[in-house]
């Protein structure tokens, strides 16, 4: 027997051949010797070589320490079964009392040790049973140490096929990854730590027919170099079955995550807060790398319940070929903050807060949304600029590609008109009422189907027409026709925190345009305040949704009742009429930073012109007169007069760079100017001397005037 060349065994599994052959050879060789008084027999087999396996320096030793006792030992200096595993060295198999009852050969409790290539030095317990009549083999291996964990393997080769099962416990993922490199490699820049305890069962005949993997992955912490993919102490429960179908694999899997966190740029999921489960049924087509999802049910606590179906193309350029999402429930605020907001961080919607829930259908094609039909249920949306309370309705949308596709869009998903209604809300801090709108939207277009009215305070904005085409594109166009129904200025000023004054604001808005983040209003807004007329035109709002809104406008006021104005602002009574021209007004964050304003008595005004002591005093302060005026007014004979007559008054301020360049109705001399030209007796002229006044000081002065009761004149 020494030096015998062993002929290749034509079986699919080399280990079976080797184990069977070695065992049978060893056992057969000792059988005739039983009973002889021999203490030990050594058989040197030499090298065994198959087509793609080999075993060198094989020897068998038989020890017969006593009656009914046999110990068989097999030594292999070096063997190569699978090149990927590497060479097996110094393999030693010890089998006490081998069972030899042809055709049955068995060893119930063998010990195996040696250097097992990639799997390192191993010390195992094994049991083996081989039947030579039908060439079946059963074995179990215990004590295999792999990747810092334990593995228990059982296997059987029957005529009908083979089964290999491995129970693993506490495998270190980092080591397992190294071990698995010949068969399965993760991207190099991905670091993975954690433990796996998995049960793997493989069935097959010539090739693998089914694979079942179940168990847990614990404390998985993974990071890729770019930081776009990461997990932290993620715990996953797996139950997977793969079934071969020709070249394809049919997949059924259940995956649950109950703790840990995961981040896939830009989405962050905290499974301890919101545990998630996914159930998949699909087909994996290795060539060209397509995953067909016949059903993917996902559920995450307080977040989402949905069923997805579609096709993912891992081989091509476009991963998401098509996807149909049946949203049973998308729950805000969690779904919004964790699944939607991350995509909006660069937009003006970053501060949006959502409540309520949404259901419906979403379809995606070639990586892009193609259509959706969504139902809103009691949704509250609160943004920086606008908020909506109790939004209900249905929003249907389809992409421009789908809309323009031949065959008509009428019956398609997302083609039906949309309807939204809400119970109230706010716009720039002003409360708005219940509204209902009907509209159609597709691509970047939006069109209101019927006129609507948005109640604002006690009035409203009646919108007769509103359509937007190519929203956000350079060629965007907006068509708008509407009217501001009279709104009480008292309520408006209360909403803005201004001193309250009476009047209404109304006007026709023939045109609105939105270009490069500038919202412009065509037409004039008319207000009736203080018994006069106010016209606002060239109204523009820059960055309307952003952090730094900037408003510009021209305001013209005619024939305001000064008594009402001064009464409202506790300025001290002045009677008469007032015109005001405010050109190039610019507000930054709703505070004026620039304007050219002129307030003056209307030419030819016939009304009664009286100015009170307090008003004289306040106007003098603005003009730079200071405390001297108060002293002059409250002493001498002037103190007997409560009011003084005036001919006309006027004041102008050109604000720029926080400096107000002031002037009056006419120059007196040098830098001095008349603010009030008196008439009759006693005649009081108020002459301003301050030309350049700090705007902030002026504002604080005016605020102080409003807050104080004014000087007491006796």
């Amino acid at each position: 027997m020494p030096g015998e060349r062993f002929h290749p065994v034509h079986t699919s599994f080399k280990a079976q051949a080797l184990a069977g052959v070695v065992l049978a050879t060893a056992l057969l060789s000792i059988a005739p010797e039983r009973g002889d008084a021999v203490g030990r027999i050594d058989i040197d087999i030499g090298d065994l070589v198959g087509s793609d396996w080999s075993a060198r320096n094989v020897s068998i030793a038989l020890e017969l320490p006593g009656a009914e006792q046999t110990i068989a030992r097999v030594f292999v200096k070096q063997a190569t079964l699978m090149p990927e595993i590497g060479a097996l060295r110094d393999l030693s198999i010890t089998c006490p009392n081998p069972l030899v009852r042809e055709p049955l050969f068995a060893c119930k409790s063998a010990t195996v040790s040696g250097q097992f290539g990639r799997f390192g030095r191993q010390q195992l317990r094994a049991s083996l049973e081989y039947r030579s009549d039908n060439e079946t083999l059963r074995f179990a291996i215990d004590g295999l140490r792999v990747a810092q964990g334990r593995v228990h393997v059982t296997g059987q080769w029957l005529e009908s096929g083979w089964t290999l099962a491995a129970k693993t416990e506490g495998l270190a993922l980092a080591s397992l990854r190294e071990l698995m490199k010949p068969w399965f490699a993760l991207p190099d820049d991905l670091t993975v730590e954690g433990k796996a305890s998995l049960d793997v069962t493989l069935h097959g005949a010539d090739t693998i027919a089914t694979a079942q993997v179940g168990g847990t992955l614990n404390d998985v912490t993974a990071n890729n170099a770019a930081g776009t993919l990461a997990t932290d102490k993620l715990n996953v429960i797996l139950d997977t079955e793969l079934k071969a179908d020709g070249a394809d694999w049919i997949i059924r899997a259940k995956i649950a995550a109950r703790s840990g966190q995961a981040y896939s740029d830009p989405i962050f999921l905290d499974f301890a807060q919101q545990p998630a489960t996914a159930t998949v049924a699909g087909r994996w087509i290795p060539e060209p790398g397509i995953l067909q999802l016949s059903e993917l049910k996902v559920g995450q606590k307080d977040t989402v319940m949905a069923t997805l179906a579609g096709e993912l193309d891992f081989g091509g350029e476009m991963l998401l070929r098509k996807l149909h999402v049946d949203l049973e429930r998308l729950e805000f605020p969690v779904a919004f903050t964790s699944l939607m907001l991350p995509f909006l961080l660069d937009t003006e919607l970053k501060d949006l807060k959502m409540e309520g829930h949404v259901s419906g259908v979403v379809e995606m094609e070639a990586g892009l949304p193609a259509a959706f039909a969504l139902e809103l249920h009691e949704v509250n949306a609160t943004g920086n600029v606008a908020s909506f309370r109790a939004l209900d309705g249905q929003v249907n949308w389809l992409s421009s590609a789908r809309r323009d596709a031949p065959g008509g869009a009428a019956s398609r998903l997302g083609a039906a008109p949309s309807r939204l209604e809400w119970q109230g809300g706010a716009l720039y801090g002003i409360s708005t009422g219940a509204t209902r709108i009907h509209f159609v939207t597709a691509g970047a277009d939006f069109r209101l189907l019927e006129p609507t009215e948005l109640p604002i305070l006690d009035g409203g904005l009646a919108i007769e027409e509103l359509s937007v085409r190519e929203l956000g594109e350079p060629q965007m166009s907006v068509r708008f026709a509407g009217e501001l129904k009279p709104i009480s200025v008292t309520l408006l000023s209360r909403a803005f925190g201004w001193p309250e004054f009476a009047g209404t604001i109304a006007g026709r808005i023939p045109q609105v345009s939105l270009e490069e983040d500038v919202l412009s209003l065509g037409g004039d807004l008319d207000a009736e305040v203080f018994g006069g007329q106010v016209k606002v035109n060239a109204l523009k709002l820059q960055n309307p949704l952003g952090d730094y809104p900037q408003l510009s406008a021209n305001i013209t006021m005619r024939n305001l009742d000064l008594e009402a104005v001064t009464g409202t602002f506790s300025f001290g009574k002045i009677t008469g009429r007032l015109n005001a021209d405010i050109r190039d007004l610019e507000l930054f964050q709703w505070a004026p930073i620039k304007f050219d304003a002129r307030l003056y008595t209307p030419p030819g005004d016939k009304s009664r012109h009286l100015i009170s002591q307090r008003a004289v005093n306040n106007l003098s302060n603005i003009g730079g007169g200071g405390g001297g005026v108060t002293a002059a007014l409250s002493s001498g004979f002037l103190r007997f007069f409560e009011d003084f007559r005036y001919d006309r008054l006027g004041l102008s301020c050109r604000l720029e760079n926080e400096i107000c360049l002031m002037d009056g109705i006419e120059r007196q001399q040098g830098e001095s100017y008349y603010i009030v030209k008196g008439s009759g007796l006693p005649r009081i002229d108020i002459i301003g001397n301050a030309r350049r006044v700090s705007w902030n000081r002026l504002v604080s002065q005016l605020t102080a005037i409003q807050a104080s009761g004014g000087p007491v004149v006796q």
Binding site: A230, P266, F268, L345, K350, D547, Y548
Partner: protein, 202 residues
């Protein structure tokens, strides 16, 4: 009539000679000063002192043909007109600049830890960028992205607002450029910045 021609020519020559075009150049030194003032406001004054690199103020702008001539003209003008204009500060005391600076100052407390950890660094165009996501704990990653997006919006608004406040909206690129250098110059040791050669640690 004929005799008048030479006189006319002479007059025209005098007029042409008298046509002086005065170009206003970007005041690099003043911009640097303004940038430093704003950076101090945003980051607080406890920043490590960063000496201004000894550089020729005008040379920081790309040299262009003809610039020397204008520089010479400028020098003559400086001599004739006391250098009040040349030394003028850049106006940064406008409500816009103040509001944006205040907003950035409020954000700095949240951002500075990311500068220190190397998660966020400064780019050559005066912005900030997420450099290393892995330096940010998972739950904070979106918050950090939000901070970076907001900061960049403010920075863009700031550069434009300064240019506008000084009635030269076209200076925005130079102001941005000046800021880009000063953010880095005043950054603490250990913070990261990106130049043509990639990310570097200060």
């Amino acid at each position: 009539m004929r005799r008048l021609v030479p006189i006319k020519l002479a007059l025209v020559s005098v007029l042409i000679a008298a046509c002086v075009t005065i170009n206003v150049y970007f005041p690099a030194a003043a911009a640097e000063k303004a940038a430093d003032k704003i950076i101090e406001d945003v980051w607080g004054k406890d920043q490590a002192p960063a000496p201004t690199p000894p550089s020729d103020k005008t040379s920081s702008l790309a040299p262009q043909a003809g610039r020397l001539l204008f520089a010479a003209a400028g020098a003559v003008l400086d001599f004739v007109i006391p250098a009040a204009h040349a030394q003028a500060d850049l106006d940064i005391a406008t409500p816009e600049v103040r509001a944006i600076t205040a907003s950035m100052e409020g954000r700095h407390a949240s951002l500075s830890k990311y500068y220190a950890s190397g998660a966020v660094g400064f780019t050559a165009d005066g912005m900030v960028e997420v450099r290393d996501q892995n330096a940010i704990p998972l739950p904070e990653r979106n918050q950090a992205r939000q901070l970076v997006a907001d900061e960049n919006k403010d920075r863009a608004a700031l550069y434009a607002a300064i240019a506008k406040a000084n009635a030269h909206p076209e200076w925005e690129p130079e102001i941005r450029d000046t800021f880009a250098k000063r953010w880095v110059a005043k950054a603490q040791a250990g913070w990261w910045y990106k130049d043509a050669g990639g990310w570097k640690q200060k």
